[in-house]
Symmetry: C3
Subunit: 342 residues, 3 copies
Amino acid sequence: MPTLAAAAQATGGRILGDGSVTFRRVAPVHDAGPRDLALLAHRRYAADLARCGGGALLVSEALSGIEEGPPHRLVVADPHAALIDLLPLLHTESRQDEGVHPTAVIHASAVLPESVGVGAHTVIGAGATLGEDVRIGPNCVVGAGVAIGAGTVLYPSVTLYPGSVLGERVIVHAGARIGVDGFGYVSSGGTHRKIPQVGACVIEDDVEIGANCAIDRGSIGRTVVGAGSKLDNLVHVGHNVTVGRGSMLVAQVGVAGSTRIGAGVAIGGQAGISGHLTVGARARIAAQAGVIGDVAPGQAISGYPARDHRDYLKAMAHVMRLPELVKRLRLLERRHPAEDKH
Amino acid sequence: MPTLAAAAQATGGRILGDGSVTFRRVAPVHDAGPRDLALLAHRRYAADLARCGGGALLVSEALSGIEEGPPHRLVVADPHAALIDLLPLLHTESRQDEGVHPTAVIHASAVLPESVGVGAHTVIGAGATLGEDVRIGPNCVVGAGVAIGAGTVLYPSVTLYPGSVLGERVIVHAGARIGVDGFGYVSSGGTHRKIPQVGACVIEDDVEIGANCAIDRGSIGRTVVGAGSKLDNLVHVGHNVTVGRGSMLVAQVGVAGSTRIGAGVAIGGQAGISGHLTVGARARIAAQAGVIGDVAPGQAISGYPARDHRDYLKAMAHVMRLPELVKRLRLLERRHPAEDKH
Amino acid sequence: MPTLAAAAQATGGRILGDGSVTFRRVAPVHDAGPRDLALLAHRRYAADLARCGGGALLVSEALSGIEEGPPHRLVVADPHAALIDLLPLLHTESRQDEGVHPTAVIHASAVLPESVGVGAHTVIGAGATLGEDVRIGPNCVVGAGVAIGAGTVLYPSVTLYPGSVLGERVIVHAGARIGVDGFGYVSSGGTHRKIPQVGACVIEDDVEIGANCAIDRGSIGRTVVGAGSKLDNLVHVGHNVTVGRGSMLVAQVGVAGSTRIGAGVAIGGQAGISGHLTVGARARIAAQAGVIGDVAPGQAISGYPARDHRDYLKAMAHVMRLPELVKRLRLLERRHPAEDKH
């Protein structure tokens, strides 16, 4: 078990109280036991300090002097950020076993460096190429011709459709489907003829994709998720979409076909963006927003149809007062009936 | 084939007409053939009685005297509830075969009682422990250290991330992912550094989880789905969320991180709840509601941002009359222009 | 590589410029290289022609005379429709290998014609019957008693619950779950008792089902997805729902139990439809709409609660002007205070 002093060194924090106190894990304030380092990052959870049983406290500068709670403290700028350096002291990484499980079915023409790990019952198609240290969980299907960059991790039951391209250090969670046929038909007389979907699906370096996401391949062009972008669970990305670098798509977001999303865009949970639109860099789209027009760079929007975030919330506040407004209008009308000509 | 009399005994119902009539299955009124017991539970489907070909009718007290339809009737308080006792007369349970399929890959340190069933190509990791009579379908992945209580059933292609804990009699439908990494990053300068997700994911007794759901593990603490809660298909539950006992989350609901949902809460389909909120016991959140603030116990809310259900529907009714209201306002203004000083 | 002339013959188009020009693939205008046929279908992408490096242009009649871009052109009525006939010239179909992979686990009583293909680690249950030329990807689970019509294709990791019925030429994308238990409970005193779900799930001919969809079986009756209907990714269809012929459900749509959707209905992404409703033929439900009442045939609706599409957008425009309306109302009131009796 590490000491508070070792933790301070790893995170660049400072100590209040006794630096020789040890802890076995980091835990939320309301859940911390005597051998735990309780984490307090937001004032909203300060009330939990009363029943905090932790042996020490990991706390932000702003809250470091708070009265209640463990007196032995590790004070850092951002307790969540500190976890990145702190948790490796506690958790010895449980990597997928190296090597290829004997039940995996690997096509003879696939290229696998010795450093890769492939789980049981995973299937890897013809011509697929894996980079160094790639880890593929059990029950995955890697289609023909797929290329996977070094250090990328697939959790169990992931499907990569043929031809998909994944960069380096990509993380794909269980059940995600990448390179799916887009939703493209030519309709006439009530019949929908499928347009063959033959484009590419490119996931760039350092992208993380949540569980059970579905990302379509391009119809003829490419679908691209830009480097460093993060997708939460159950996100849908339609065909020919491009997502810029470092964008965040929270759970259950849907992006319809051919929309171009800029870099550093943040899209809240369950928001939907129609097809063939442009969303500018660093735009902020609120949870559940329904976007049916282009979004300017840096713009913050919400609602359906999505509008400026503050204007929308202001307008919705008025909506809730509409019954009262209507009464006031009716009162004025009664005082001034149409036949009243002054 | 059971008789109506046997069905009456099993369900505690009473018979109108001939109790010796037999039936091979229960079917909706519009779909029932001469050997079927037609089920009528709501007046809205009474019109289907005209073309009901059923040999007998399973009907509620309120509708028992209805004229049309089969004269031989089993009258019960709640026809759907009656199915719980009635269907076992018809369907001999087709349980997963007992025993462990020879293609399953079970780590030597996993603990499996003889009574468990494990389907083909399922993978069970180091140190996993299964209770009595656990049934695991084909192509599942049970991570290292997972604990599964007695009588729990996993349908095919389920993923339990390492360390997940499932109680007794839990049902997990195909493709659900439990214990997924939460969506936690420290962002600066357009780069998002992943905060390791090392907390637990606990699914208590008698929970049912729909197909392709995604439930995150805690970041450092725990995600908990309380005993007896039911999740429909494609539901997302973020990290550190707690769901109280006996809550119902309809399909495609999303709950963002660290939100605490009380017991007996009902959340309609596609509703979304922001992070770090508290939803009181027995609250009712309408379908598609977007909840961005705390919800009081027992409160019924809808819309975005979610408000009191009746107020919201009333306000939205006024919204649809806004074009007319604006005309009335304009009329008043014309009659009383600003320069009119009386 | 085909010539423009061969492409014109395949698609019934006409040529501008040199018909002997060859191309290796079709690509979007902004992505086309010198050996590509650039596709231009919408004026909104005409600006990309300036930097189009394509050797030839596939273009609609309306845009055929556009100045910039490659001078060698294949002019057709609808460039996307032309792909249906054009792409087979380029892509030799990479079908699933025929034959049953030796790692597949096929129950002795299942019926498989010699023409079928079954991928690695797929499991097929007792009494399942497959039609001619069925293709099943790796890691699928086909439950006991399932019937699959000729020419149907399952992508990897699909689950068909026992008893599901699929027609001919159905396409099911990776991770879709068909025939899942519906969300049916009898609740009392905070406890929810599961109503056994024993009905059927029928997917008719020529249906396409997107990745990670979830379609419930009937509770006692049937869930039916009508012939030629198309479901995008992550769609939820509840128990006892019927979808008519040729309907389109865009990504993340949810349809609650027992709702009857007519033929030729179009439902936009993330829209939700409550249970026990009737949606008339050719109705158009906008993206994110929340439908809580019946929809007339041919009606176009949007919003929550869903209303006539044009009325809704008009009303929402007024909503955004509410702050200004309230000011105008207040001004009138000030000019005519209640004590002002004229």
